[in-house]
Each structure stands twice: as C-alpha cells, then as structure tokens.
C-alpha cells in the first residue's frame, strides 16, 4: 500500500554549509488493512517521513509509492490515494463548522461529499450533534475527532495520522483507540506517527522505531513484545560492598538497593542466555536470591531501542 524505499532527507544547518540528516536511508512498507506505527523520540525523523509521504517535503533521495504511484513523479495520483491528519488539531479551519470543514477538504480534493455520508461519518465518531458547531468551540478531543472526520470525508483507503493523540486526556485517548480499531475493521490502512506507547500497544499491527533518522527496528508489535518478554528479567541479588563493586566492573549499573539486597533489571541481548548470566554471578561470588520474568510494556521496548 505504502512503500518507502531508501528515503534520505537532509536539512541545511543554519548559518553553516553543513547539513543535518533528518531521515537516513529509511525503508519500510505498510500493508493493506494494517495499522502501522512509526515510533520515535523527538527529532527522530517521523514527521519528516510522514510529510515526505504526503508530498509536503521533497526528499534528497529515495522513493515513495502509494498504491504503486510515485509521490515524486505521479504526485496527483499518489496523493489522491491518501488523506492525512497533520499538525494535530490545528489542521482545521476553526471558524468553520465541522461539516463545513469536511465539505471543504473533500471539495479541494475534487470530491463531492453527500450530506448523509457526512452525517454517517460523524455519527460513527460520536460527533453528529456537533456537525454544525464551529471547530474552535469544540474540546481538544472533539477537534481531534473532527480532524479524523475530515480525513474520512476524503474517502481514501489510506489514512496518515501524525501525532493523533497529542494533548488528549485519558478518556479521549481511550476513545480514540477504539475509533482506530473500528477504522481498521472497515478496511482502512493506517500509518500513524506517535509518541503514545499506549496507543501503539493497543492498536498497532506493526511498529517501526526510529531514532536519529534511522529505523532501528521494524517488526510486528506482538513479536517485539514476545522477544522482549522472553529476555527481560528482574534478578534479586544479595551483595556485599565488594560484590557491588564487582557488579559495576561487570558493566551493571542503575539497580535498586535495599540494604544488601539489590534488584537488577536485565534485558538479555540476542547472544546472551540466562544461564550465562547466572554463571557470571556465581563465578564472581554474587549470591542470587530470586529471578523473575518481567512483564514488558512497549515503553520499555521503545527505551531499549532508542537509548543512547
């Protein structure tokens, strides 16, 4: 559905001839009917990637195809396949009603929006009563929903959502997740860029984590969780001062301490095995009190991939 191939984007550095690498040879593809999440810390290159897909930024090299149409060479055909929610809730005309916004954005894409279709979209999003209300008078959550409604009014199979839950309260964020799930059930393909780990955990099928302009991992969400769950352990050790020094020498740091009891959180790398670790402690005379498998959430996975 969406193919991003070897995308590179450099920005000129202010008052310098140097360039900043915003996106560094990024490749991924979004399959038909899936929710694909692009995750990364600030400045990772997510928004540049999304905007390149929307044809708002010209990449230095690489190729982007939407349903087989090149964004760079067949811009109009490619862009008619997608609709996007950019800039959170700022992408609507605040002095126009929800319905007027829907009609306008569908219209500038050359599409006629039937009033009944519009009301059906709004009803599905729980916004029917707000159809004629000006956007500025809506709550942040409602505005975000209105942005989705505008996106749906454009009647495309692919939706691009840039930071869709930014600034939403807990209730709105939860409601938003169920909206995304129901859109997926209706066959929409969704590419979302977000910081919101809960959203990713709840709705994404596949996840690409970006850091410093590169994709550090691109995998099915469940596989990532399974791999991390298999590798994450909470190990309690009984340590003397000497043993603590030894632990530091072995490269362990950042543990919780309670008297001579130490709680270590360990993420095994793919080449490490648990019994190797146990051997290391044993050979260094560090007493193991207990070993527990740790429950992994997406936040931990994210941090482990984006840590310096």
């Amino acid at each position: 559905m969406i193919e991003v191939m070897d995308l590179v984007k450099l920005y000129p550095k202010r008052n310098s001839k140097e360039k900043i690498v915003a996106v560094d040879h990024v490749s991924f593809n979004v399959k038909n009917g899936e929710i694909f999440a692009l995750l990364g810390p600030n400045g990772a290159g997510k928004t540049t990637t999304i905007k390149s897909i929307c044809g708002l930024i010209v990449p230095d090299s690489g190729e982007i195809k939407i349903k087989g149409f090149s964004v760079l060479k067949e811009r109009s055909k490619a862009l008619s396949q997608i609709s996007a929610v950019l800039e959170g809730n700022r992408n609507l005309y605040w002095r126009m009603s929800v319905l007027e916004n829907m009609r306008y954005f569908a219209g500038i894409r050359g599409k006629k929006l039937n009033k009944w279709n519009a009301l059906e979209i709004l009803e599905n999003l729980g916004l029917k009563e707000k159809a004629n209300q000006l956007v500025h008078s809506l709550s942040r959550g409602m505005q975000q929903k209105a942005a989705i409604a505008v996106c749906l009014a454009c009647d495309t199979d692919v939706l691009l959502l840039d930071e869709p839950t930014l600034g939403l309260d807990v209730h709105s964020a939860v409601e938003f997740r169920s909206i995304l799930r129901s859109l997926k059930e209706k066959g929409k393909t969704i590419l979302l860029s977000t910081h919101d780990m809960n959203l990713v955990e709840a709705v994404a099928d596949r996840v690409a984590i970006m850091n410093k302009g590169r994709i550090v991992v691109c995998e099915e969400k469940q596989k990532l969780i399974d791999v991390f769950t298999a590798r994450a352990y909470k190990i309690r050790l009984v340590c003397s001062e000497e043993s603590k020094k030894r632990l530091k020498e072995l490269g362990f740091n950042g543990w919780n301490e309670n008297g001579n009891l130490i709680e270590l959180q360990v993420n095994l790398t793919s080449s490490q095995r648990l019994y190797d670790l146990i051997d290391t402690f044993r050979s260094n005379n560090i007493e193991i009190e207990s070993i527990e498998k740790e429950m992994v959430n997406f936040e931990k996975i994210f941090i482990s991939y984006t840590r310096e």
Binding site: Y11, T48, L56, I57, A84, L86, E87, R90, L92, Y93
Partner: protein
Amino acid sequence: MWRAFLANLEKTFIEIKRYYFNSISGVATLLIFFYLLFFGVKAVGGPSISLSSTLDGIIVGYFMWIVFIFSFEGVAWGIIEEAQRGTLEQVFASPIAFEYQMLFRMVSEFLFNNVLLALPLMYLAAFTTGRKIGFDLATLLYLMIGGTVSALGIGMILGGIALIFKRISSFIQVVTFGSLSFTMFETHSLWHRLLPMSQASSMMKALAINNTKFYQFQFCDHVVLWLVAIGYLLIGFIVFRVFERRAMVVGSLSQY
C-alpha cells in the same frame, strides 16, 4: 477541478460572513481613506482649476487600486494566515496542486470582494461625493477582469515569497502603496503601461470620463491589456512554483 473551485468559493463566502466585523471595518477604512484623498485633492486644487475630470479619475483610480490590492493581498495574507493556523499543509496535501487552489481562491475573492464589494463601493463613493458614474457595465467587468488577472500574478509572487519568508507584511504594504502609482496616475509611456493594472486603469479612466465602450478602444490597447495580464499571471505561476519547490526542499511549508 470544478468541485475544488466550488469548495473554495463556499469557503470564501463563509469566511466573509463569519468574519463580518473585519469585512465591514475593511469597507469603512477604504471609504474613509477615499474621502481623505478626494477632499484632500479638492482642498489643494481649490476652485481655480477644473477638477471635473481629475475627480472622476480619482474615483476610478482609487477603485482600481482597491481591486488591485484586494486581488494580490488576498493570496499573500491567505498563505500567511494558513501557515499560522496550520492548515497550509493540509491544503498542500491535496492531489489538486496548490497553485490551482490559490487561483480558485483568487477568483472567489474577485467575485466577492471586487464584484460584490468594490463595485458598489465605487458607486457609493461617487454618489456621496456628488459625482455621477454612468458606466457601461460590460466594459467595466471586462476591464476589471483584465486588470485583476495581472494583480493575481503579483499575488502569486507575494504568495511564493510568503512561503519562504513568512513575515512579509511590511513588504506587502510597500507593494500596496507602490501600486498606487500603477493605478492612480496617467500612463504616458509604454513602460508605464506594462506595469500591472496600469493599462486596465488607464482604459477604466477612459470609460469613466468619456464612457468609452470596450469595442471603441484601439486594438493595441486590448493587446497590451491582455499581454500584461497573462504575462504577470505566468510570471506569478513560475515564481510561485520556484518558491514552493524551495519551501518543500527546506521543509518550511508549515513553519511560521
């Protein structure tokens, strides 16, 4: 394309209606400015000179200036506002190119601002200052369209500059007041006639003072009018494309 035009037409109408205070105060400002100009000229000229044609010229010249600034300012301010609001990128992401969206907006604004606002304003200004305007409406509209097309080209250039530099309000003011010279003064040389709106303004004065119909103008007048109009529009499109491309390369479309 047609739907995109209708969408922009509807949006322009909604915004005029919704920002009615701004629309009304804009009209009031233009009228006050006109009276200052009109009575200023009358006071300076005094009773000793024949002011008849000069005053008619001022009314028409001022009216053409309004048409001109409405046309080009609309685009530039539109881009600045959209960049501030955050809607600019959303419009850019449409499969119908942004230049066309701008063109549709300009045509919409021409219809609402020039035909529905500036035209009655001119009659009101003439009526309240004791002048009588007996124009041929077809010629008037013909010249308005011819003049506005060149103004749209200037609007596209300013819009392109706004995409890169964002804060260009001072520059817009310079162009706004500089454009007085294109519309208010007599066109003596070919160079002057090649300035945007200048030829249209000159023909409009002939219409106002001598009631010259569009078919009574010389052929070369029509040629200059349309060459200038299409020339500026083309230059506007090209310049806009260049700046738009630059903004997309440096990623500054939505920055403000």
